[in-house]
Symmetry: C2
Subunit: 199 residues, 2 copies
DNA sequence: TTCATCCGTTCGTTTTGACGAACGACGGTT
DNA sequence: AACCGTCGTTCGTCAAAACGAACGGATGAA
């Protein structure tokens, strides 16, 4: 497939002005600077760059070098990724019987997407409801993915295939998601929270 | 505090050669290119940059512009952050009665840190065990924080103070963590998973 | 063997990002 | 009023990033 979109997350790519990282960091630089309560002059001084350079960057004119960007990230105490996505938080409730069901291959395994990967985050949160039966085997995802699971009720065999652990209520496991792994309910009405974290 | 370290995550900063993002991306570019099974010439062609430029970047010589980096990220289908941190995932289990208990102001509210903010992520995962009694009120955290809660057992009143929702097993809520918020158990032995997500 | 590709690196040229000085605007003192 | 300091922008200069052509080496086909 061709890659006409920004890297990172497909969802974020769609949300943000496509293919224009310059405008994005321009806005982000201003935002982060104001968040820190600093003047343009002061930030430029601390970062060791000319304030003219910063001025142009914040106005969207310019194509900063890695060193320049790095210096700004350091002084603004902001990770690189924060300069590439906007924020937005609000309260949202999804009841136990609501929400989009993502995987229902059989009726004995249901994954509900609670919080899909928005711009700025690299994780998906699912609610898992599973019944005993065949194990739910997952193919490896993209490299670097880490999955976190906390059991809410019931028991389940979870983890990398061959090294799966038996978990009960309250138990937590973290394992590499880029290898084959399983989720097998051992008791009826097993519930869990699964977080898939992309690198 | 002074910022003599690379941005992003302090832990990563310590792990990686400090203050030298150039060497890091140099190695990352080679790694990602080989992962994609492409030649230097081919990647340069697809990215629309001179292969001499890419050659110098991969050898650690050079200070790429944002546009150049972006083009490479797109053609390599790699998020920005992947070029700045190495990988490392492993399986880890924390049993229901294990793990560092973070907050136990009273015995009726316990938060256990399951996965602290590692390099590359901006979130903490907690297991909450609470008993009815006084509400657990939290002061606002740093701006932009979002909290996610899924109830595992029992019932609880969760959310921004004044707009809290009553949740039962399987229910999910997401709310801005940078405003005062509460977690009040309504039934004995209430269990939940809480994820605090930093911007 | 010779020829044809492809690989990745090196070198000279051109484009451009970073710099520093100067600018006008604004707000607070004296 | 005049003066001071700081704000953010604009402009000319210079160093450096990106380019394109040519290079030597490895591989495979004629």
């Amino acid at each position: 497939m061709a890659n006409t979109d920004p890297p990172g997350e497909a969802v974020a790519a769609a949300a943000i002005k496509s293919g224009a990282p310059l405008d994005v960091i321009a806005a982000s630089l201003r935002r982060e600077r104001h968040r820190a309560g600093l003047s343009l002059t002061e930030v430029a001084r601390r970062a060791g760059i000319a304030k003219s350079t910063l001025s142009q960057l914040e106005s969207g004119t310019g194509n900063p070098s890695l060193e320049t960007l790095w210096a700004l990230c350091v002084t603004l105490d902001a990770p690189f990724s924060r300069l590439l996505d906007p924020p937005r938080p609000e309260t949202h409730v999804i009841r136990a019987d609501e929400g989009p069901t993502v995987a229902a291959a059989q009726a004995d395994y249901q994954a509900t997407l609670l919080a899909g990967c928005p711009p700025g985050a690299r994780r998906d949160i699912y609610r898992i409801a599973a019944e005993p039966g065949h194990a739910r085997a997952s193919e490896p995802h993209t490299p670097g993915v880490v999955e976190h699971v906390v059991i809410g009720a019931g028991r389940a065999l979870v983890g990398v295939a061959g090294q799966a652990a038996e978990l009960g209520p309250g138990d937590y496991i973290r394992y590499p998601g880029d290898r084959p792994h399983v989720f097998e309910a051992l008791e009826p009405r097993t519930q869990a929270v699964l977080m898939s974290e992309h690198p």
